[in-house]
């Protein structure tokens, strides 16, 4: 039997505000346990929340960037459950009137375009961190992350393949980074996803029973989790079993998901309007103000790059998928005004080095203007392309300034024709065998001679002029 998979995503994204959602503690990642904590976010009795205005602004930004309607009158609700990472034993969230609803994010998989509908986006507070203490088999509770603002972005069940899920997450991540609301560092848990999955036989229309896998925090893990869970459900059905609606935990190290205990499963959150906070009313003016402050979004940028710079769509897709690559592209372009050259450097050397050193784009350290300078140095023949690559590696690793580095290491090309000529003459003299072959009609040997010359010139010559000098010299023989 053939099966269709249907998936929906709940993406949690930590906002990059300076302070927490309901108190003035820093949201900075890390720190000793319970050092970014105050009476409010640790749930001390009698303390009260006060909403960070930036969180609302960021939520509106996100809503606009994902084509949502902004809920003009929205409220917070309490979600009640007991767990040590939740000091008040309720999470302040939005159930009844979330801040954004009815949007969509457009994706493209293998040339096919598709709109993934966003059901709603709501604001909420993050929970703390539990650390297992193996010494006395207990759990230690750290509230530093408690109260860090989150957006939960809930999609409709519009996904039919893993590729769509990854394309959506990639796009969503790019949008969130572009509009500056989140750094989306998956390794720090600032972007994580819950996936709802159901399968049904091809030809049927009724959706199958869905399961939910919580808190998966890397694209790879998500892809693996989807594959594993889809297979599990299909196997179950094919063996005559039934999928039960449940929450499952994905264990990425073991590469499998398992059902959470039924006790954890049977949740009755007793949501009700949060009486300690007042409703939020969002005016037309506020939305307009946020709209005006939004930067160019990935889709717009992509179209402009193709139109204005004539870059290949594939390259543009990759560059515009990351706010950090875009930043490098635009800053380098500003200096050298050579869009194709910049794009080639990013697509070639930069991606190669990033991948070889497993560097996330956001952690690329070098000053992008220096790439522009490097391209100019190459263009005016101060250095040749090989030298440029060598310098770029240094820039990537140590953020060196190219002009200064080239000078200090005497990497400029030799423009002294006499010096080139004397090296060429010497090489020809030292390679009579090659000369013989050349004379016999094997012009390919000039390449060997070229290599010898460049070696003696320590690579610091314009290959074209060296080549010319060799051809001249051989002709003269």
């Amino acid at each position: 039997m053939e099966f269709l998979t249907t998936m929906g995503l709940e993406v949690h994204c930590e906002l990059s505000t300076k302070t927490k959602i309901f108190c003035s503690c820093s949201t900075e990642f890390g720190g000793e346990p319970n050092t970014h904590v105050c009476a409010v976010c640790s749930g001390m009795p009698g303390t009260l929340p006060v909403l960070n205005e930036k969180v609302v602004e960021y939520a509106i930004r996100t809503g606009i960037a994902t084509n949502c309607q902004i809920t003009r009158y929205n409220k917070f609700d309490r979600k009640n459950y007991f767990y040590p990472d939740l000091p008040k034993a309720y999470q302040v969230s939005q159930l009844y009137l979330p801040i954004c609803h009815n949007g969509h994010v457009d994706i493209e998989v293998n040339g096919a375009k598709k709109a993934i509908r966003i059901k709603e986006i709501h604001m909420e507070e993050d929970a703390g961190k539990l650390i297992h203490d193996p010494l006395d088999d207990s759990t230690l509770v750290d509230y530093n992350r408690c109260g860090v603002p989150l957006l939960e972005i809930v999609s409709e069940p519009d996904f039919e393949s893993r590729e769509e899920v990854i394309a959506y997450l990639t796009k969503l991540k790019a949008i969130l980074q572009y509009i500056g609301v989140s750094d989306c560092k998956m390794e720090q848990g600032s972007l994580r996803a819950d996936v709802n999955i159901s399968v049904r036989p091809v030809g049927t229309t009724k959706l199958g029973t869905r399961t939910e896998m919580k808190n998966i925090n890397s694209f790879k893990a998500i892809a693996r989790a989807i594959e594993w869970e889809t297979e599990r459900q299909i196997d179950l059905i094919e063996d005559g079993g039934k999928v039960i609606q449940e929450t499952r935990r994905w264990d990425d190290t073991k590469g499998k998901s398992y059902a959470m205990r039924s006790k954890e499963n049977a949740q009755d959150y007793r949501y009700f309007p949060e009486p300690d906070l007042v409703p939020i009313e969002i005016s037309d003016e506020w939305i307009e103000k946020v709209k005006k402050s939004l930067p160019e979004l990935p889709t717009e940028k992509k179209e402009r790059y193709i139109r204005e710079y004539g870059l290949p769509e594939y390259d543009v897709d990759i560059i515009t998928s990351s706010k950090y690559l875009v930043k490098i592209f635009e800053e380098a372009l500003e200096v050298c005004n050579e869009p194709k050259e910049v794009s080639n450097w990013i697509m070639g050397e930069l991606l190669r080095l990033a991948s070889e050193t497993s560097t996330e784009y956001e952690n690329i350290k070098f000053d992008a203007a220096n790439l522009g300078k490097l391209i100019l140095l190459l263009k005016n023949k101060t250095i040749n392309r090989n030298t440029a690559k060598e310098v770029f590696e240094k820039m990537f690793a140590e953020n060196v300034e190219p002009e200064k580095y080239i000078k200090e290491n005497r990497l400029e090309m030799t423009n002294d024709a006499g010096a080139v000529k004397s090296v060429v003459d010497a090489v020809i003299a030292a390679n009579p065998k090659s000369v013989e072959e050349y004379k016999a009609g094997n012009t390919k040997v000039s390449r060997h001679l070229m290599g010898q010359c460049m070696k003696q010139l320590k690579g610091k010559a314009d290959p074209a002029s060296v080549n010319e000098a060799i051809t001249e010299a051989l002709k003269e023989l």
């Binding site: 503690c25 000793e32 009476a39 960070n52 930036k54 203490d133 230690l140 750290d142 009755d268």
Partner: protein
Amino acid sequence: MKITDDMIDYISELARLRLKDEEKESARNEMEKIINYMDTLNQLDTTGIEAMSHAFPMKNVFRKDEVRPSADRDDILLNAPDKKNGAFKVPKTFE
């Protein structure tokens, strides 16, 4: 409405309360009396009336996104029944 023992068990579990058997019986009886009294609200037709969570039309109370110093960790942990390494200590939550 009839409040059953199962309902009392379910609510106790939600509220993380554990009643002794004799407490359970009186809790059930009293809850039933109280809930039935609450049912008098059904005499009032509230069709079309908006639920009112806040008595006054207050809105948009915000704070600026400015960092203030957090509390002293010793204060946060001051009253903790059990603590270790600057953290609250609880029975293990990991399986």
